[in-house]
């Protein structure tokens, strides 16, 4: 408890301390007096009071008073008398006055005329009889006596009064005067007073020093050693601080960088390709038959401009053509249909990065390990599940004695490094044998999700490229990994992102920091 009190005292602003001391000396002190004595402006006193009140150290009490004074009309009536008085004065002389002449005789304006008649009747000073106003006995009595409203009016001539100070009779007079329009001003005046609560008493009992406190540590204070004589006010650490927005990498890019690092660590050489390529490299070099469903306009983006690509050297093209038509000398029977050069020349937005692998094999000799990360395109409408473009990581390993076992080993290691445990199941791709899909089990979906395809490049793919060793190959999706990692269900988040998501997502990626 006492530790608590010390902490509270420590965090008191100097104004709060000054206010507390003032209250200690004079329980009835007003904010104005505190302001005067401590040379603080009234706003600072009130804000210190508010702050102390919020901490239950004092209570701030409000006393609302109504100050009554005369308007300019009121002052005039005080000087010349209320309209009914002026009429009474005349009646005392004349006993009766015809209604029609009243205004003229008593010097009333039209408005006063009405008021005068009303109040004469109400005060029973006169009565109206056949168009004539006649004084009553009561009226006569009031020649030298005054009603409550007149008395109040007289007093207000010289000073304002607090409504709560009025006697009961004057209060009646106030009510009457206030019924008339525009005679009285009533100013509501709020007075604050302070009351020490228990906590405040404890604090005062414990006591505190008042020393001038500095807020910002300044260059000047450091230079002239002023800091040595200053106390720096402790801040309320819970005060809200403004937000700032960091510069950050995109989550998808972060995962791509992580993937690159894994393959570089595994000794792979990085390669690159263009997103626009010939159907030759995208399909034909991968032994995809020219009438394959995946080549149809429905699934593949063909390009209007440039509509055609050049083909690589003729020898490669003709070897590829032969393999398609009859398998050439690969031991395969091929697709047993004609191969059309013009179909191979069509420009496409690559549907996979696998063309990079065949190009790399065309230009390099095993043993080799190659990977490449790039965008691929499919004719998909943009939905929460699909985008027309996404990323793949492509990889090959070519060497004597490379086997399917090594493909599985490589993929297992890759996914392990990214924190995923995968299973393998048979699949089909036109350019591989021992085709295999990598899958991950998602608890929340209660099903296996495909992550990427792999297999051993077929002899029909390798023979035209002049490759004599087995080649293991894989092409793995990246967006899905990102969606699982960042726990998002809408793939569009990755490309048409919400800036708040980007600003708030931690960059640790589940890495334990130590």
């Amino acid at each position: 408890m006492s530790e608590n009190i010390s902490k509270i005292i420590n965090e008191l602003h100097i104004y709060e301390k000054q206010l507390l001391n003032a209250i200690k000396n004079n329980e009835n002190i007003s904010p104005e007096e505190v302001s005067l004595k401590n040379s603080l402006d009234i706003k600072s006193v009130m804000s210190a009071a508010g702050s102390l009140a919020s901490k239950n150290i004092i209570e701030v009490q409000k006393d609302v008073s109504e100050i009554i004074s005369l308007t300019s009309d009121g002052e005039n009536f005080a000087k010349v008398g209320l309209p009914e008085r002026r009429v009474l004065n005349e009646l005392i002389v004349k006993e009766e006055i015809p209604m029609g002449e009243l205004a003229k005789i008593a010097k009333l304006d039209k408005n006063e005329n009405k008021i005068a008649i009303g109040w004469l009747v109400r005060k029973k000073w006169a009565k109206i009889d056949k168009g004539t106003i006649k004084i009553t006995e009561i009226g006569k009595k009031y020649e030298n006596d005054f009603t409550d409203d007149e008395k109040l009016l007289e007093i207000l001539k010289s000073k304002s009064l607090n409504k709560s100070d009025l006697s009961e009779r004057l209060l009646d007079g106030f009510k009457q005067l206030n019924e008339r329009k525009n005679i009285l001003n009533i100013d509501k005046n709020t007075k604050h007073s302070f009351k020490l609560l228990d906590l405040g008493k404890t604090i005062l009992k414990k006591g505190f020093k008042i020393q001038k406190q500095a807020t910002q540590l300044t260059h000047q204070q450091l230079k002239d050693d002023g800091w040595k004589n200053l106390e720096y006010r402790p801040y309320d650490i819970n005060v809200e601080a403004p937000e700032i927005f960091p510069g950050k990498g995109h989550p998808l890019r972060e995962i791509i960088e992580e993937i690159r690092e894994v393959f570089l660590n595994l000794g792979f050489t990085e390669s690159n390709g263009t997103i626009l390529d010939s159907a030759f490299w995208n399909f034909d070099s991968l032994f995809q038959p020219q009438d394959h469903a995946a080549r149809e306009m429905q699934d593949t983006f063909y390009v209007k401009k440039p509509i055609k690509c050049d083909l690589p050297n003729e020898e490669l093209v003709s070897r590829t053509a032969c393999v398609h038509e009859d398998g050439a000398d690969t031991g395969s029977c091929g697709w047993e249909c004609d191969w059309d050069l013009d179909v191979a020349k069509q420009s496409v937005l690559r549907t996979h990065t696998t063309g990079i692998s065949t190009k790399f094999l065309n230009e390099n000799e095993p043993p080799l390990k190659m990977f490449s990360v790039g965008r691929v395109f499919r004719r998909e409408t943009i939905t929460y599940k699909h985008l027309p473009e996404f990323h793949q990581v492509e990889g090959i390993v070519a060497a004597e004695n490379i086997s399917y076992q090594n493909l599985l080993g490589t993929l297992k290691e890759f996914y392990k490094k990214l924190g995923f445990e995968v299973r393998f199941r048979p699949a089909y791709f036109p350019y591989t044998y021992l085709s295999t899909e990598c899958e991950i089990y998602l608890e929340e979906k209660e099903s296996w999700i495909e992550l990427g395809g792999s297999g051993m490049f077929r002899p029909e793919v390798l023979a035209p490229l002049g490759i004599k060793t087995p080649v293991l190959a894989f092409g793995l999706g990246i967006e899905r990994l990102a969606m699982i990692r960042y726990d998002i269900t809408d793939i569009r988040m990755l490309y048409k992102s919400d800036i708040n998501w980007l600003r708030e997502i931690p960059i640790t990626n589940g890495i334990k920091l130590d």
């Binding site: 595994l266 050049d310 080799l368 390990k369 409408t381 473009e389 090594n406 021992l434 296996w448 002899p459």
Partner: protein
């Protein structure tokens, strides 16, 4: 992708009694992807290389092999009938190949009829390329009479009642007025005669590849059927018939072949031929890796794959491939089947035992460096689609349209071209986030495409870096500060020149050149014009830069 749906109890007819959970474990391992399942039925995708698995009969056949309940090629009843199909000379120019078979002792239930329809549709898609290459008709044989004729009919003759209609139409009317006819009319539009299959009494069995006749429609009472397969690819036509016959064979159907009489030759249909290929024991073990399968092991695994096998010697095995398998092009395909039957779960995984030295591609290495500078300056990285539209890329940016990569069949009007600049995507992002907190500082680094005749692909890829800053006091000086820092930190000295780039406020935009020992870069920066800002419905000043590497 072809998907087949069946009930668990459908498997019982084939003597398969298995719990649902086990089935769900096993099916993927024999080469399929389970799409969905519930307590009664299961939806399974088989891959396009295995159309023989697109019927419940085919699945049962493969499954029984996989669990060693039955081995080798099934022994289907097949005999020769004396019936014939006569092929008209004129049809050879239109849809030149036909295969025909009669199958007796078949039974249909309502469920079976539905399954056979789905099977046909899947085959039409997978082998038939949506009926272009291959189309199938299955008929009640009891209402027609041999010999059959495959003819090119003139458009207005041989009217008949097609499936699900009540009155006769000519072939031409069918193409115009029938729903199926209209859907597939493009397959015949270039011809002035249309294919028809007639019986001896000129009754129409079907009008391939469009529709069958109502006369030969299958019902639950049908016991003998005729299968016709027509198409443009002889091999595919024969394979399709083999697959269908084997499916009926699996449930006791008695297949009867007939002669197809072409003007210049006569062949027996279905051809139903097996294929022989040698598979080597050493190659099998080498390619799979980690196995030491003997000739006997491999022989048995082949039989599980429903091949027959003959051990020739320690290293050579003859695999006999059944007529319904169309996926075996090469010995490696047989090895794949061996691995699947062995079960790939059992294969020990192992990293490749070759040492290579990694090397990072400079294209990506430099991106990493550039990102580091941008992030240090407090820019948030974005990734946007490379597909954009002329409207966003040129019109909204007040740029004149120039040559660019155009997609030939865009999916939507806002994805018609490949970007040459990154700024419009950054502007779109600002637009999407215009109600979020400012300042917003964004950058993207990415590839753009330019047309280039000197390249094999007729395009060249350039790397661009672009950034935008949006807040109420954004101005030229702020962007100049940023751009100067970026160039300095990337090792370039900067030279400025005046620019009249229309995307920016006149007089508040500069062209830049960065020079270093490693070469030159160029770009521009400035205050985006209010018109452009409004085109993206933004309400605060935007400053931007773009650099081409």
């Amino acid at each position: 992708m072809p998907v087949i749906t069946f009930k668990y109890e459908d498997l019982e007819e084939f003597g398969i009694n298995i719990e649902k959970e086990k089935l769900i474990d096993i099916l993927p391992m024999m080469g399929s992807d389970i799409e969905d399942y519930n307590d009664e039925e299961i939806k399974v995708e088989f891959f396009p290389n295995r159309p023989d698995n697109l019927s419940i009969e085919g699945v049962a056949r493969s499954f029984k092999g996989f669990i060693s309940q039955e081995l080798g090629i099934p022994n289907y009843k097949i005999s020769k009938s004396n019936e014939k199909v006569i092929v008209d000379k004129e049809i050879l120019k239109i849809r030149p190949f036909i295969a025909f078979a009669k199958i007796k002792n078949v039974r249909f239930t309502e469920n079976k009829l539905k399954q056979i329809m789905d099977f046909q549709e899947n085959l039409h898609w997978v082998i038939g390329r949506d009926r272009k290459k291959v189309a199938i008709g299955i008929h009640n044989a009891d209402v027609v009479e041999a010999p059959y004729k495959y003819i090119a009919s003139s458009k207005n003759e041989n009217s008949f009642i097609s499936l699900e209609t009540d009155y006769k139409m000519t072939p031409e009317e069918i193409l115009k007025n029938n729903e199926k006819g209209a859907k597939y009319s493009h397959l015949l539009e270039e011809f002035d005669k249309y294919p028809l299959i007639l019986d001896n009494n000129k009754e129409v069995l079907s009008m391939p590849p469009i529709i069958n006749g109502e006369l030969t429609k299958l019902t639950e009472d049908t016991t003998t059927i005729i299968v016709d397969v027509t198409g443009t690819d002889e091999k595919a036509v024969n394979q399709t018939l083999n697959i269908i016959c084997s499916s009926f064979g699996e449930v006791g159907g008695e297949i009867e072949s007939m002669d197809v009489v072409y003007p210049d030759k006569t062949i027996t249909s279905p051809e139903f031929k097996v294929q022989n290929k040698i598979v080597h024991v050493d190659l099998t073990n080498e390619l799979i890796g980690g196995t030491s399968l003997s000739a006997e092991d491999i022989s048995r695994l082949l039989q599980k794959a429903r091949f027959d096998s003959k051990i020739i010697d320690d290293n050579n095995i003859e695999a006999i491939i059944p007529p319904y398998r169309i996926d075996i092009l090469h010995e490696v395909d047989i090895i794949e089947n061996i691995a699947i039957q062995y079960c790939i779960k059992k294969i020990e995984t192992k990293l490749p035992n070759i040492s290579t030295i990694a090397s990072e591609h400079n294209w990506f290495k430099s991106e990493k460096t550039i990102r580091e500078v941008m992030i240090g300056l407090g820019f948030q990285e974005l990734m946007s689609l490379m597909l954009t539209s002329e409207k966003s890329h040129y019109e909204n940016m007040l740029q004149k349209e120039d040559e660019h990569v155009e997609v030939s069949k865009p999916i939507t009007i806002d994805r018609t071209m490949i970007r040459k600049s990154l700024i419009n995507s950054l502007m779109e992002f600002l637009e999407d986030n215009k109600h979020e907190d400012f300042p917003q500082k964004l950058f993207e680094i990415g590839d753009v495409l330019y047309l280039d005749d000197t390249q094999e692909t007729k395009v060249k890829t350039l790397k661009k870096l672009a950034g935008v800053i949006c807040h109420s006091n954004a101005n030229f000086t702020e962007m100049k500060t940023n751009v100067t820092t970026i160039l300095n930190n990337l090792g370039y000295s900067m030279e400025l020149s005046s620019s009249d780039n229309p995307s920016f406020i006149n007089g508040r935009v500069a062209n830049l050149k960065g020079k270093s020992n490693n070469g030159e870069i160029s770009g521009f920066f400035g205050e985006i014009s209010p018109e452009v800002i409004r085109n993206f419905t933004l309400e605060y000043p935007v400053i931007a830069f773009e650099i081409t590497f």
